[in-house]
Amino acid sequence: MENPDVQYINCEMQDFKENVMKLEVKNINAAYGDNEVLQDINIYMKDGEFISLVGTSGVGKTTLFNIIAGLIMPQNGDILLDSENITGKTGFVGYMLQKDMLLPYKTVIDNIALPIVIGKENKKSARQKVMPYLEEFGLKGYEYKYPASLSGGMRQRAAFLRTYMQKRQIMLLDEPFSAIDSITRANLHEWYSDIAKRHKLSTILITHDIEEAIALSDRVYIMSGRPGKIKGEIKISRQGNLNEFLLSANFLNYKRQILDML
């Protein structure tokens, strides 16, 4: 006979497992010399979630990314990945910057394969690992070209793929769409949310484009002040496809809420 109590416990455990945080940013404070940059930052992210940090420039968003990536030590506070402390350690997150940072002297495929080569693998097998993804990222036929002959959107896709090849559980995107014209940007948005869903990527996006944040994210954190603080958090629920969502009253509502907080 089934014991209803056991099932109840199982159910709770299941729940508990789903609620385990992928990434937790706990009480982070940071300063450059006497200049306080970040004050008591708390952020969390569940597995597969897409969150955004919105704020004016100079609010310390990039500093926060550098701390999450382990490039800078915070004054205090911890970064937890799967409940494990990774504060000050590099190599756990994939990091993508505003500039695509494709090295001009490496071919597209060698640029993309770079993280694998850095991981002490030889060039040939690294290239082989990249090959299967070229089609999906719209780079087929361009693998042996140099970045100079690629369009802005292609360069950004190549940079995404390079970040993806790091096979990290978390992607940090530091305004990767901001240097691209608006039509290409809209295409890239759709393309990226697609890729992120398909490959179950957990993403944190930095942006000062509020609409971009609402369009892409599950949750948006609003940062402001000097030193930078988290002003609020908005959960985005999106129905229908992206274009419809962008024109809905719901969308404008979210936008107003964020603007009010900034």
Partner: protein, 256 residues
């Protein structure tokens, strides 16, 4: 197509300009405006070049050997110096000011000392070329290393790259252009350096040949050897440019 057409016109223009210059010179001599012992005519110079070709060639061989030996050793030294200055801050702090000061000493003034210390063989010549060559190489390379993109370095750090990997993937390829602009300067000076140090004492080489023909007042031969020297320099510079292009294949796509 239009671009190609334009470059043909450019080349043609240069050739014509050069031919005009030679023609003018020939006229000056034929009309006896300048005495022949002071300025031999281009035809005379050509004649001297052809008549003395085997001798010139044997001397040139020594000069070319010295130049290449000096270039290779000097480049290697410059490279090692630049890399160690980049890797170790204290090397940079200690050596960089010294390096700058060392460049205020005219190398020509060092040449007689080198002959005194190292004799009449090829060693003082190669040493002088090494001294001339290593500085532009080291200075240009260190410049390239230092100007490496900070964000690119940050990116590689997030990938977990170490110091050597950052050097190999970013600083080194990023400095190829700097290296070649240094080499270009070095090459031009290297040939001149070889000839000057041969003047000051030696058994063989274009500089030795020069002092000999000067003593016999054969100015036609003097001019012939001057042309040979500048031709050698030009060829070397061209060689550097070709190597530069081959070493930076991505440049071709950038121009498009």
């Amino acid at each position: 197509m239009k671009k190609k057409y334009q470059s043909i016109i450019d080349i043609l223009f240069h050739v014509l300009l050069f031919a005009g210059f030679i023609l003018l010179w020939q006229m000056l001599c034929m009309l006896k405006i300048l005495p022949e012992y002071m300025l031999p005519s281009p035809l005379k110079v050509l004649q001297a070049f052809i008549n003395d070709f085997t001798l010139l060639a044997s001397h040139a061989k020594v000069t070319i050997y010295e130049t290449f030996a000096g270039l290779i050793i000097g480049t290697a030294l410059g490279f090692i110096l630049a890399v160690s200055m980049d890797c170790f801050g204290w090397v940079y702090k200690c050596l960089y000011p010294l390096l700058i000061v060392s460049q205020t000493i005219p190398t020509v003034a060092l040449a007689p000392l080198l002959v005194l210390w190292l004799g009449y063989g090829v060693t003082p010549k190669i040493t002088l070329i090494v001294l001339i060559v290593f500085f532009p190489i080291a200075a240009c390379l260190i410049d390239g290393f230092k100007s490496a993109d900070k964000d690119e370095i940050r990116l590689l750090e997030t990938m977990g790259a170490g110091k050597f990997q950052i050097f190999y993937h970013i600083k080194l390829p990023g400095s190829i252009g700097n290296f070649f602009s240094g080499l270009r300067i070095s090459v031009a000076y290297a040939v001149v350096g070889a000839v000057i140090s041969e003047w000051l004492g030696g058994y063989k080489g274009l500089g030795v040949y020069m002092t000999r023909v000067k003593k016999s007042y054969s100015y036609d031969k003097m001019f012939a050897v001057i042309f040979l020297i500048s031709l050698l320099s030009l060829l070397l510079i061209k060689l550097v440019d070709l190597a530069n292009k081959a070493a930076m294949p991505w440049r071709k796509e950038e121009i498009k």
